[in-house]
Symmetry: C2
Subunit: 118 residues, 2 copies
DNA sequence: GGCAACTACCTTGCATTGCAAGGTACTATG
DNA sequence: CATAGTACCTTGCAATGCAAGGTAGTTGCC
C-alpha cells in the first residue's frame, strides 16, 4: 500500500453527514436539485454528485422532511425546488443538537493525549 | 409517519465517524477489542456493538493502520490488543485535519440563518 | 433541419458497511 | 453439568454513496 488511504475514509465520513448538510442548506430557502449539487460540492471536504443528491432528495421528501414543487426555468428544463417542511425544520433542530453532542464526544477522544506514545 | 425519524439519521451519521473515533481512542495506547466496544459505547451519540467494532478492527489491521497482538487474560480468553502502527499515526493526523475542514464547512451551512423562517 | 453543449431531472447496479443475531471458547461459581 | 461473565469472530440484511447511463428542454452553430 505505501501511503495511507485517506480517500476511502473520507468517502465513509461523508455518509451521514450529507443529510445534515442538506437540511442546513435548505434552511436558507428553497433551491432546486441541480443547484444543491453545485452548492454542496463547494463545501470543503464534501464532494457530491447527482447520483448522491437526487436519491437523497427523494428519500427525504418521501420521509416528509422536504417539500417539492416544479417551476419552469427561463432556459432549460423545469426545475424542482425543494424546501424544508415543518417536520423538516423540527428535524433540523434535532439533527444539529445530535451533531453537537457527537462533536463533543469526538473532541474529547481527540484531546486525551495529543502527541505522545507512552 | 407523524414524528421525525431522527433515529435512522443518527445511524447513518455514525458511519464514517467511527474510524475517526477509533484511531483517536487507540492513540491513547493499546487496548483490546472488547474494551474498545465499551469505551466507544460511552461516547455520547455513538452507540456501537461488537458486530460493528470487530469487523472495523479487522479492516483497519488489514489496511495496515493497526497492529495486533494476543495476550493472555488473568480470567477469560486471550485478549487481542490493538494499537496504531506508524501508518495509523500518520492517518490519524490526516483524518483529524480532514475532520476539522469538514466541521468548518458544516458550521458555515448551519450558521447562515439560525432560527428565522421569513 | 441536424448536431453539439449545457441545464436539469432521474434510475440502475455495485461496493461498502453498520449492526442484530448467532457462534465459539475460556474461567469461575454453584 | 448449568449459568454467567469475558472475549473473540462471522453471517446475513438493509441502507446508501456514487459512477455510469438515460431522458428531455434550450441555445447556438452550421
Amino acid at each position: 500500500m505505501g501511503t495511507v488511504n485517506i480517500d476511502n475514509w473520507v468517502v465513509q465520513l461523508r455518509k451521514g453527514v450529507l443529510e445534515l448538510c442538506l437540511v442546513n442548506l435548505l434552511a436558507n430557502g428553497e433551491i432546486y436539485g441541480y443547484d444543491v449539487v453545485k452548492q454542496l460540492a463547494r463545501v470543503k471536504g464534501l464532494v457530491v454528485t447527482e447520483g448522491t443528491v437526487y436519491p437523497l432528495l427523494s428519500r427525504l421528501r418521501k420521509a416528509g422532511l422536504l417539500t417539492a414543487r416544479l417551476e419552469e426555468s427561463p432556459s432549460g428544463p423545469a426545475r424542482k425546488y425543494y424546501g424544508l417542511s415543518s417536520e423538516g425544520r423540527q428535524a433540523r433542530v434535532l439533527m444539529n443538537a445530535c451533531w453537537g453532542d457527537l462533536l463533543k464526544g469526538i473532541a474529547e477522544l481527540q484531546k486525551e493525549r495529543e502527541g505522545n506514545h507512552g
